[in-house]
Amino acid sequence: MSWPLYDSGIASGLLAGFLFGFVLENAGFGSPRKLTGQFRLEDWSVFKVMFTAVIVAAALLWLSKLLGLMPQGSYYVPTPFYAAMAVGGLLIGAGFAIGGYCPGTSVAGLAGGRVDALVFMFGMIVGTVLFSAWFGPLESLYLAAQGPKAQTLMDLTRIPEWLILIVLAAIAWGGFKLGSNLEKKFGGPYKASDLYGEKR
């Protein structure tokens, strides 16, 4: 048996999604106050959770390839479109700071009963309509500065994958330390008991 199974059926979607949503809500990522706390430096959960998840999944993918369970090049690696991905990242970062969510966390927010998450989703639909309406003028930016197909950090830097993982883990460790110190300084992180008082 070889991975991946390329199962894009209903059960695999429901299972992957269930775990995704279950973890997001338990991390507190349904709350826009907790999420935006990252950018006020009060709550480093977004950085800590994302960075840990990236390293865990990347290390397991590396190990799977090493053990011959997963052939090289068998899973999807997005091709960089430097300009569009940079501008898109800036827009989503701004949207996250202003609106309090990103697409995934808005789903967790709505599931927790938040009407503002539904408004954010409506906004995303408007944004998608605007992009489609402006696709003509935006197309040159959309396609500009395309990098090599499925380019990885290993391709870019010629550093072996295991060493990239160690470097990322070191950056994460530094970020955890810095984040925890700043959280202490600014009175964070947000706890469930801070966010869900019976009255406000």
Binding site: M85, G93, A97, V107, G112, D116
Partner: protein, 169 residues
Amino acid sequence: MSPRAFWSPFWAGIGLGLALFLTFVLTGHGLGASGFFTRLTADLGQWVAPELTSNNRYLGDYLSTGSPLQAWITWEIVGAFVGALVAALSSHRFRPQIERGPSSGVTSRVLMALLGGILTGLGARLARGCTSGLGLSGGAALAVGGFVFLICFFVAGFAFSLIVRRFWQ
């Protein structure tokens, strides 16, 4: 009932990483979210303005296969909603509310959610993914594009937070 505490970021990160890895093993790609909202937009467009939508060069592609919502990512988002609902209910954290900072009114919060959503919708289409699809999943695949996205996401997040922080604090 008082709400149960959140998981620590470290353990939540381990959990999210394992869920993400399982998704790669099952499907050959990672988790995503914005793709669902694109398909939802195409589906709604087909309903509200069918000709305009099918003639649109971007959204038209999503209609060529019939129902745009028939995709793995739709089931993934349904699953994510149910998973988050189970987590919120079982931890006594389900609250119907408009969550906002103490100094923010309902109107300003709703307008900000709308504006943030519009910017995010635009950005996700431009970047070909969002914080989960490109940042998290692309990051785990050690894709250059994922890290370009993540760096810009954090830079703009910090910058715009300076402008709007009074609404949240």
